[in-house]
């Protein structure tokens, strides 16, 4: 007689699976780590002099490292979308819905299984973003990045980077369940993330932007997240940007999480063409 299936057990098992799959997907490692790393070095070489002249001496790497931590999280979330599309077409989501959790209430749509799946995904993404943050911060440190605002803020840096970065995964999840195919969905969103990287505090000081763009930079999600991390590592008022970044994080999670949840139920019931 086997032990009953409980949600924590399922979540644990699925999380393990997600983490292992992420590790086994080269695309994720490239986009989450290699690409931002290369970008860091290239941008430092190309714009280092220009930005430091313009902003009066603050080392460019202090600005860039948080930027690439957030970008790595965002781009990396696109890399995991492939796995989700595979799950969708292979019928894995169906299997999840059918996991027998027992209990007295009927669970037609298999929601418990799907929620477990989503939770597992979130856990694995937090792990990925944390790992990516550590790596990119270390790389930044090689080029001169320093935590200048004390241990408390430094720890907050890592915690918040992970939370902010992991919220992007819901966008990918929503796309994977609602989108028609990977080719249709990933390039436009990747392009969007790239635009968010540019229009942020991450690449240049805000006064380098034309006046009409500056308001956009002030409220864009990645921009606020990067600013928060910059203040946590470099000092300065952090409450304002932090609130903004958290608002976005919660917004992403709630909005895209709901879309993803609905989408999950939808794909399980869509017809699949027999090949």
């Amino acid at each position: 007689m086997t032990a009953p299936v409980t949600i924590p057990k399922v979540v644990a098992a699925l999380s393990r699976r997600e983490v292992m799959r992420t590790l086994a997907t080269p695309a994720v490692i490239v986009q989450a780590v290699a690409f931002p790393a290369v970008l860091l070095m290239v941008l430092l070489a190309v714009f280092g002099s220009a930005v430091e002249d313009f902003s009066g001496g603050e080392p460019y790497v202090q600005r860039l490292t948080p930027a690439l931590v957030i970008s790595g999280a965002a781009f990396g979330s696109m890399g995991t979308v492939l796995g989700l599309f595979e799950d969708r077409s292979s019928g894995f989501f169906d299997r999840i819905r059918l996991i027998p959790f027992g209990g007295d209430t009927p669970d037609g749509a298999g929601l418990r299984g799907l929620r477990a799946m989503m939770l597992a995904r979130s856990i694995s993404e937090h792990a990925r973003v944390f790992a990516g943050t550590v790596v990119l911060t270390a790389l930044g440190a090689v080029f001169g990045f320093r935590f200048e605002a004390g241990l408390g803020r430094a720890l907050a840096f890592f915690v918040l980077a992970t939370i902010f970065g992991a919220s992007f995964c819901w966008i990918g999840f929503a796309l994977a369940t609602k989108g028609s195919s990977m080719e249709a969905v990933v390039p436009p969103v990747s392009a969007l993330f790239l635009i968010l990287l540019f229009l942020s505090h991450g690449m240049v000081p805000i006064d380098a932007f034309p006046d009409w763009v500056q308001p956009v930079v002030e409220v864009a999600p990645s921009s606020l997240m990067m600013l928060t991390l910059q203040r946590l590592s470099g000092g300065g008022e952090v409450a304002g940007p932090l609130l903004g970044a958290l608002a976005w994080t919660i917004g992403f999670t709630v909005v895209f999480g709901t879309i993803a949840a609905r989408g999950l139920v939808g794909v399980s019931t869509e017809s699949r063409v027999d090949s």
């Binding site: 070489a45 190309v46 714009f47 002249d53 313009f54 540019f198 380098a208 932007f209």
Partner: protein
């Protein structure tokens, strides 16, 4: 009836095929057009003020960079197609026929040049709208287009070779994007060569993208073109020869 390999005939036929294939899939043009325009806009937004403060007119300087970037994107599809042809069996099939060995790669270049023409024209229009002016009039513009086309032809050959190394078309595309970023960014495309750390300056100054951009800017601004021309031609010839030699040695099957 002669079925002996003929470079001209085989390139024409295969080139026609390559062009037919991309015109039936016009979405592929989108990435070659949209990305550069988006980048152009973004770099303008991000860097214009900074560079103007240092005395550089980005409106005159960026278009060459953006066109080179667009040519890179155009050429990268050669990698995808070479890998795809191998996967579907078209490459071995053509290789087992009396077709000139260099024809497939040259046909790729021809096809990318046709896409390149469209890109260049569109981007020049966008550049003019954003404030760029051809100081040398129509000859400058035509010269500019010609330089861009030769650049895309040579780059396509290189990308095609990279494509031959990829196991799937997607892998080939990813592989092809590896040289693009360093070559584009570590050039004089976005900042003057002097901005680079000392040890990079040599590379940045002499690499083929910088030389191409030098020539293109001279054609826009009306500066001296002779010296940039020779540097650029030198690179194109060397790369062209190297790629052609390598292409002949590519194995058609795994």
């Amino acid at each position: 009836m002669s079925s002996r390999p003929s470079l001209v005939r085989d390139t024409t036929v295969l080139g026609g095929r390559a062009i037919a294939l991309w015109t039936r899939n016009p979405a592929s043009m989108a990435s070659a057009l949209i990305f550069p325009i988006v980048f152009f806009t973004l770099f303008n937004l991000v860097a214009r003020r900074m560079m103007t403060a240092r005395g550089f007119d980005y409106a005159q300087l960026l278009p060459a960079t953006v066109v080179v970037q667009a040519m890179f994107f155009t050429a990268m599809s050669a990698a995808y197609w070479v890998a795809n042809d191998r996967l579907t069996g078209m490459t071995p099939r053509v290789r087992s026929m009396p077709v000139h060995r260099a024809a497939p790669l040259l046909a790729r270049s021809v096809s990318e040049m046709t896409r390149g023409v469209i890109s260049v024209v569109v981007l020049l229009i966008v550049g003019v709208i954003a404030g760029m002016r051809f100081q040398v009039g129509i000859q400058g513009a035509l010269g500019f287009v010609a330089v861009a086309l030769v650049f895309v032809a040579v780059t396509s050959m290189g990308m095609g070779l990279i494509g031959a190394m990829g196991s799937t078309p997607e892998a080939a595309s990813s592989l092809a994007s590896v040289p693009y970023l360093p070559l584009l960014m570590l050039s004089n495309g976005f900042v003057p060569v002097e901005d680079f750390p000392g040890w990079l300056q040599g590379f940045a100054r002499h690499q083929p993208v910088t030389r191409t951009i030098d020539l293109m800017r001279a054609l826009i601004d009306g500066g001296p073109t002779l010296e940039p021309f020779w540097w650029w031609v030198g690179w194109m010839v060397v790369l062209g020869v190297v790629f052609t030699v390598l292409a002949a040695r590519v194995r058609p099957v795994r």
